[in-house]
Amino acid sequence: MQFDIGSHLVEADLEQYSMGRFPEARLDAFEEHLLACELCQDRLLEMQAYVNAVRSVSPKLRQSNRPRWREQLFRPRPTWVAAFAMGVVVLGLGRIWLVAPRPPTDFAAVFLHSSRGIEGLAVAKAPAGKPLALNIDLSELPALPSYHIEIVNSQGQPVWQTTASAHEGKIAPKLTNGLAGGQYYLRLYTTDGKLLREFGLRIDPNQ
């Protein structure tokens, strides 16, 4: 007996689904095929692994590029160059300090999607003590102008909360102080307190 399960899923759709950006309007057909097609399940797994791996590695590569120009800038020079540079810096500092924009804080991006658990690859993780830029996927949730967010520790005690507006199917609040190492849960509520979803979040003290 053979069954009509439709065409295979296209690469771009698998990519969007892995990133939590798949359009809600086409989700039914996508997931119905996925339930019956082993080939597409494997392709999705590979795509998910790829997206997660790129997301994990990219910040590291970006950081490793930074010291090169810093080394160039701050490498030892003759004393007179240092003295001259210091003079220029001292003269300009008073003016620049007040008007120059502060360098952007280096946030760790944390993606919280409704999917998790395959080989541990989709578990949201973040480094301890570092500012966090949360990126919360709202797919399959009611579209509201804003949401209440609460982070609780492993004992259920609230450690942080905020209200944030949705933009293009996501909310992206920032925790400027970061979190200490441990297991946390992020809960997403309507503004009148109805629980919509809970995400696991592991903060790694050694990362």
Binding site: S7, V54, G120
Partner: protein, 213 residues
């Protein structure tokens, strides 16, 4: 017997079977068989959907108690079919998906409720260790090594493009506009990097795990 993967992957079927019944008709035959309580119908249902249901539940809820959740899902589907709740047999795939999604939502509700109750009962409640197992950690590390090799093998500009797309979640239009790229260049870069990742990592990818029986 295997589900058809039309139109790209032809499935070998006996000519008589192919001539007698179209793939759409077979959903009807399957539903009727389950309704009559035939064992073969339930086996066929399980064969077509068991891996997908495991896959979906594992993806949404993790591997804990996966066998029980899959079993519960099939019991619900079969009972509903027998009660005549599936009015359009060719919508069986959608019906199974709806049941699975409800299972996921119910499980999430239960988990949240249970965690709340535990927190109210004690201040030092034991929670399950959600860290990766050594095997999972090794697989994750391998994936990252492959991704790092791929990203290091391309130019800094190409790397920036991939970072903007996957990490910073900029749209294709934003990236193409800011980095002066055509859509074709953008798509090619992405697909080449992904293909390279697959090529380097294929042997290392442990693709079948919890959802595989």
């Amino acid at each position: 017997m295997s589900p058809s993967l039309s139109p790209r992957k032809p499935v070998l079927v006996a000519p008589k079977e192919a001539a007698d019944e179209g793939p759409g008709q077979n959903w009807l035959a399957l539903v009727e068989s389950i309704t009559r309580g035939e064992r073969s119908g339930m086996e066929e249902l399980y064969r077509v959907f068991s891996r997908g249901v495991r896959f979906y539940l594992c993806r949404q809820l993790g591997p804990q108690d996966l066998d029980d959740k899959v079993h519960d899902t099939f019991v619900i589907v079969v009972q509903a079919i027998r009660r005549g709740e599936l009015r359009e047999p060719d919508r069986l795939m959608g019906f199974v998906r709806t049941v699975v999604r409800r299972q996921v939502a119910a499980q999430i509700d239960r988990s949240v409720q249970s965690r709340r109750e535990q927190a109210e009962l004690a201040t030092s409640t034991a929670v399950s260790d959600q860290r990766n197992t050594p095997e999972e950690a090794a697989i994750e590390r391998q994936h990252e090594e492959v991704a790092e090799a791929v990203l290091r093998s391309i130019s800094g500009r190409d790397r920036e493009i991939l970072t903007r797309f996957y990490l910073l979640e900029q749209t294709q239009e934003e990236i193409c506009g800011e980095m002066n790229l055509s859509e074709t260049q953008f798509r090619l870069l992405k697909s080449r990097a992904k293909a390279r990742f697959g090529e380097l990592g294929r042997k290392k990818l442990a693709r079948r795990k919890y959802f595989e029986k």
